[in-house]
Amino acid sequence: MNPMQRTPAKIVRLGALVTLLACMAAETQAQRGRARGRGQPQAPATPPPAPEPKEPASVERWTAIVGGEVHVGDGRVLRGGTVLIGDDKVHAVGHDLEIPAGATVLRADGKVVTPGYVAVRAQGIGLPASVTGELKDAANPFDPAIKRALAAGITSYLYWSGSGQATPGGTTALVKLAWGDLAGMVRQGQCAYSMRTPLSATEWRRLRELVGQAKEHKAKTEAAAAAPSPAPAATPGRGGGPPGERGRGAPGQRPSPSAPPAGTAELLRIMRGEARLWVNPSATPTDGGRGRGGGSDDRDGIRQALQIAELLGVGIVLDDPVTAWCLADQIAATGSLVVLNPRNTTPPDPTDPEQTGANIAAARILDEAGVPVAVTCPSGRFGGAQVGTGGIMGSDLNTPQVDAAFAVRGGMDPRRALRSLTLDAARAAGVERIVGSLEPGKDADVLILDGDPLSYRTFVETALVNGKVVYEKDKEPYYQHLNR
């Protein structure tokens, strides 16, 4: 006799009801968490609004991607939708859009259309590891690595060179994989800075000092801007320039008419929302675990990073934390974000196993608390943030969707896992206004995939960057020979 048949039907019904109630409760809780997470405790200066799409009349070149399953990037999925691109920007996304005459039409029937992936850690793609002078003057738009990265679905990445230590530092830029287009490569300079915690007492004091000076300066300049100055143009004005101007390009700041105190330029940009601060909460290793930090307990480092967030009044980005999953609510409360490798298996400290060590469910826990999560690939000899040619597929940047898939393995909602490669990755890089989703006014970085974006079997068929087709699978040698 089959035991299944013996179970009374009413017990099944009761169980279903209980489950339903539990789900509803969990959903409410999660919603609350999300709401709490999205809010920021102190209102910082509002970053510039998202760019508006161009006037249709001024567009020279239209491209339309038609008929695919369009994942906009904010969670919406449009089956059979159209993505209309005007020059280098997304113009409109929707069903039954009118396509202007003369547009190049790319058919995506039976395919999946997504925003291009933003790699928050990548090396050796179009730029050398360190550059004297401006990044754009060292860019190589014909680097073969660009094609391999496009084949992996990466359309832009956060370039890092150097890093700060006890204060924010480092050279960064959002680099587009705009093959052959030198001008289109370095899209936005200095979109992020980095530093590390824990800080020593002296360092912490120093940081607080600097932040204090920065806040003073910020208040002064804002006050001056609010009260119009009668001084003539010859006298250096007191109004700070448009926030977006500052720091574009050269790491050395052009002195503004009212110069910020030494050492506060980066902090000011962070506080104004012009750049993200990444904090690496590396712990003192207690045992040789896996993972970048090396240690199993970086809660102190994380907490201090959150203190820095509160001090600055903006969310920060936790860079590869091990125990962020233990502090999800606190992280959410500061509006901070997390970049992590879901496969991190740093073991827990045996004396405190519940609150230490990595957790593959970290992405889920953080996401449910309302913390945006971006995923990265493992580091190490055969992995690493490169589109390698000698390594082990699945461990490097050749298959970014695998990293998001591991987040799903840990329980993350599959519909949200794609964001860890796109919009939330763009958030972590501080560039969510220009990339990361298919929304009007954003850069037209689009992928046409041959299947489920998170499937290990899916390949990029076509990739567009800045509105131009820069990769086609059947025209490049890499995966041309592989067909479904």
Binding site: G133, A139, N140, L182, P477
Partner: protein, 472 residues
């Protein structure tokens, strides 16, 4: 026959090794008979006679009587072609050769796993040294010139070493006691060696922008004050010399404010105007050289090796137009920065000659080779070839050219690429690079077709004088 041998022997006995003294143009005539002549400027002429007198080619024809008193050389059916022109190198500079230039510092794959290799600071390259002349650094009595000459290289372009704006290059003959005796053209081109970094790009851009501004200013002053061009010998800028100012411009113009569009120079040489204000009389050779270029009185030899570098160059130079020759010394190894065939329009727009090493390139990450010279030629771009700047440069190039021809490059393009085209690039094609009446008698006699591997170089004439054969 005996007579010509005696004459030849006498001549040989009388002629001294060309390195010992300035070449004497032969007052007597020379007749090379029974040769297959490759004029380069026209189709081959079979069984021709070439008459040479006073160091120049007098006549070329398949049917001439040899005038009396001419030494006769029987080519025995061999092939006569113009001497090879080495358009760009550092022969004779520094101790025994060139100061090595920094290669383009972009390394593919940047810091992949290794310590990142940042941009090496170039030697020099921080300033506009356009006023320097390569020939001022040349040391005349060096083995390398003999070697090159014996191998068939009869004209040598010498470029200054360094990156950025290292100076002006000149043209020498590989024979002579001193630089003056060797000099053919003291300043033939302005060398530009861009590097993909901000400092060098800014230097060049600024120099060009300043040059344009200076030119505009000079033009506004009137034609009588415009300096006579010449070979960038640093004529004093007219506007700064009160003595030369015509009466209708009393006094000086107010000093121009630098703030407007000449921000503080970062490693670049400043414009003429603001520097030193109105009292300075000294010529600024560097700025003069740039102005010469912008006026079209000289040409720029720009070292570009890849498509990426071309795009960077475009950024720097897009507001200016001047005669341009692209020099690609390392193009075959720079595949990971893109080949020239993706930037053809950039080359065509400038009507530039491209001088490149005669090599096949390999597409990165593959074993596929491409014949870039053939591709450029097929696209309508005029190409010439770079020879090594020492040693048996022509012999080495010949082997490479054979491979290029086998891979699809037309043979006549190959030979023109080592003769007339580099001469055109240097601006000396009026006298050098082809076998035509009136041109300099730099001649090579081969036992067969020059691109036949079995053919040997039998005789070399430099300006009508036969060169002592290679002892080997």
């Amino acid at each position: 026959m005996m007579r010509s041998l005696c004459v030849a022997a006498a001549l040989a006995a009388l002629s001294v090794p060309s390195s010992a003294q300035a070449p004497a143009t032969s007052a007597r005539g020379l007749a090379i008979r029974n040769a297959r002549v490759l004029p380069i400027s026209g189709p081959p002429i079979e069984r021709a006679t070439v008459l040479v007198r006073n160091g120049k080619i007098e006549r070329v024809s398949s049917d001439i009587a040899v005038p009396p008193g001419y030494e006769v050389v029987d080519a025995a059916g061999g092939t006569l072609m113009p001497g090879a022109v080495l358009a760009y190198g550092h022969t004779g500079l520094g101790a025994g050769g060139a100061r090595e230039e920094r290669p383009n510092q972009f390394t593919r794959g940047g810091g992949r796993g290794r310590r990142g290799r940042g941009a090496p600071s170039p030697q020099g390259g921080a300033e506009n040294e356009s006023g320097e002349l390569a020939l001022d650094r040349l040391y005349a009595r060096q083995e390398v010139f003999q070697e090159l000459l014996r191998d068939g290289v009869t004209t040598i372009g010498v470029a200054p070493t360094g990156t950025g704006l290292p100076g002006q290059g000149g043209v020498v003959r590989p024979a002579g006691d001193d630089v003056a005796a060797m000099t053919v053209v003291r300043s033939a081109f302005l060398a530009i060696a861009p590097v993909n970094d901000t400092r060098t790009k800014t230097l060049i851009q600024r120099a060009l922008d300043d040059g344009k501004r200076n030119l505009d200013r000079r033009r506004r002053r009137g034609p009588e004050q415009r300096s006579e061009g010449g070979r960038a010998e640093g004529t004093p800028p007219a506007e700064q010399k009160p003595a030369e100012k015509p009466a209708e411009n009393p006094g000086e113009k107010p000093p121009e404010k630098p703030a407007e569009n000449a921000p503080e120079a970062r490693g670049g040489d400043a414009a003429q105007g603001p520097r030193g204000g109105q009292q300075q009389q000294e010529p600024d050779p560097a700025a003069e050289a740039i102005m010469q270029l912008l006026e079209g009185k000289t040409r720029a030899f720009v070292q570009i090796d890849s498509a990426a570098q071309m795009l960077h160059w475009d950024e720097v130079s897009k507001n200016h137009s001047f005669p341009t020759v692209f020099v690609a010394r390392r193009h075959a190894s720079q595949g990971s920065q893109g080949f020239f065939d993706v930037v053809l329009d950039h080359i065509k727009r400038r009507k530039a000659i491209v001088l490149l090493t005669p090599e096949l390139s390999t597409i990165p990450n593959t074993e596929y080779q491409v014949n870039m010279p053939a591709r450029l030629h097929a696209a309508g771009i005029e190409i010439g070839f770079l020879l090594a700047d020492r040693g048996r440069a022509l012999s080495a190039a010949r082997t490479q050219l054979m491979e290029l021809v086998r891979a699809g490059l037309p043979a006549d393009v190959a030979l023109r690429g080592i003769t007339l085209t580099p001469a055109r690039a240097l601006g000396i094609d009026g006298t050098i690079g082809s076998i035509e009446p009136g041109k300099t008698a730099n001649l090579l006699l081969w036992s067969g077709d020059p691109l036949d591997p079995l053919a040997k170089l039998q005789r070399v004439w430099l300006e009508g004088n036969e060169v002592e054969a290679d002892p080997r």
